[in-house]
């Protein structure tokens, strides 16, 4: 009998929820290589490739959000979640964010499309894209990209960045979010302040990595005339390269422990510090690693 008393309250909540989350069902034709821009402040964004020349958007619109529309033409489409009555030109208005409920966007897009996605706290998942460039801006939402792309760019503040598939060129940047990138192509630039980095791929023509305090595990080789450059302050660095690597390896640490399977590590006679200068194979590539207090390991991959 007691439970009956709660029924009106539950009913009100259900009705409220039903009114708050408006279902989305939008479609628009699109060119195979169309540029598609998506933005959402909070909730979730999922983008899945398909073989149709069409964009489909489903999901639910959060309370306080303006009615959603697919804007633009077949070559350049835009799907932006905005607060109702927003006149701000900025792509996410965080004042508006406080007034808006979470919006879930499920998109189906042509697999060769170019994506430009901006999210704040909404986690983002991208699956199956093949051939187009992908650019992502996120603040705290997790970013997961499983795609074959010639150019992947992800900037995140605290959200984790997770890459798979293949990215010929990758530019991944976080402040505190981790970077997990096991399928990098020939050019990569990875940057973090305190996030952990795990990356593989190559052989790299140009690979740059910088970390202040985040630890790094890197697995890959250097291409002919290619280069790998790693800077770390206190983050530990472990670099694993193929046994048949051909490169000049130059590594140094001010006060960290430096060990290498290649060449001979020299300890400084006066004061702290150690360094390694080794020529391996015909030294067609270049590997340069420098840490301040982080430990450094250069391992041979058998």
């Amino acid at each position: 009998m007691k439970n009956v008393c709660y029924l009106p309250l539950l009913l009100t909540l259900c009705i409220g929820q039903a009114l708050a989350d408006t279902p989305i069902n939008l479609q628009h034709t699109a060119a195979p290589g169309a540029r598609i821009s998506v933005s959402n402040v909070k909730g979730q964004v999922t983008i899945t490739a398909w073989d149709r020349n069409q964009v489909q958007v489903t999901g639910s619109l959060g309370d306080g959000a303006a009615p959603l529309a697919i804007e633009g033409d077949n070559n350049d489409l835009e799907i932006k979640v905005k607060p109702r009555g927003s006149s701000s030109g900025s792509w996410f208005n965080w004042h508006g964010d406080n007034e808006m409920g979470a919006t879930t966007l499920d998109l189906r897009v042509p697999k060769g499309a170019t994506l430009d996605v901006e999210v704040v706290s909404a986690p983002l998942g991208i699956d199956g894209m093949d051939g187009g460039k992908i650019s992502v801006n996120s603040v705290s939402g997790r970013v997961r990209v499983n795609a074959r792309t010639p150019d992947l760019s992800v900037e995140s503040v605290s959200g984790t960045v997770q890459q798979s598939g293949f990215a010929e060129r990758a530019d991944l940047q976080t402040v505190s979010g981790d970077i997990l990138a096991p399928a990098l192509g020939t050019i990569a630039d990875l940057q973090t302040v305190s996030g952990r980095i795990q990356a593989s791929g190559g052989p790299w023509h140009k690979f740059n990595l910088s970390t202040v305090s985040g630890d790094v595990q890197l697995n890959g080789g250097v291409a002919d005339h290619g280069s790998i450059d790693i800077d770390s302050m206190s983050g530990d660095v472990q670099l694993q390269v193929p046994a048949d690597v051909s490169a000049g390896i130059h590594a140094s640490s001010f006060s960290g422990d430096l060990r290498s399977d290649f060449g001979q590590v020299n300890e400084h006679d006066h004061g702290p510090g150690s360094e390694l200068n080794a020529e391996v194979g015909n030294s067609s590539g270049r590997i340069h690693v420098e840490t301040f207090s982080g430990d450094l390991r250069i391992r041979k991959k058998e």
């Binding site: 701000s88 900025s90 792509w91 996410f92 208005n93 965080w94 004042h95 508006g96 704040v120 706290s121 603040v139 705290s140 900037e155 503040v157 605290s158 940047q173 402040v175 505190s176 940057q191 302040v193 305190s194 910088s210 202040v212 305090s213 800077d231 770390s232 302050m233 206190s234 001010f254 006060s255 960290g256 420098e290 840490t291 301040f292 207090s293």
Partner: protein, 141 residues
């Protein structure tokens, strides 16, 4: 605690320390009774000269220390003044604190290894990240 933090704490111990009380009263009191007794001694002139020399050295030493202390305070104040920015949004505030701390640690590291190109590059990239965070805050509306 990692090695870097341990080293930083050691560096802090190296900072100049001001005496807990005024030492001049004790020094003057110790010198004044010695003066009349010195008149009776044939080495009075030498003792007086040595006392003045010691006093001068002590004064110079204390002045230098005071100067170092002031420099240290000024540095601390400068560093404190360089970190006034704190975004309202908690999603950015944490990152702003993290970037400030990273910049401070990089500067401390650069004091030890001033010729490190890697540290210079990291400092430059940290500044770029701070600029980007400020842009994000502006975009937040």
């Amino acid at each position: 605690m990692n090695e870097f933090e341990w080293r930083r704490q050691l560096r802090e111990l190296r900072a100049p320390v001001a005496p807990p009380r005024d030492l001049w009263t004790g020094i003057v009191a110790a010198l004044e009774p010695a003066a009349p007794a010195a008149r009776k001694s044939p080495r009075a002139g030498w003792l007086l000269a040595a006392s003045f020399a010691g006093l001068s050295l002590l004064t110079v030493g204390l002045s230098l220390r005071q100067g170092q202390l002031l420099d240290h305070r000024q540095t601390t104040t400068t560093v404190a003044n360089q970190t006034p920015w704190k975004p309202d949004d908690p999603r950015l505030a944490g990152a702003a604190i993290e970037l400030d701390a990273a910049r401070l640690e990089l500067r401390q590291a650069l004091e030890q290894a001033p010729n490190s190109p890697a540290l210079q590059r990291l400092l430059s990239r940290t500044r770029q990240q701070q600029s980007r965070l400020r842009q994000l805050e502006q975009q937040a509306g």
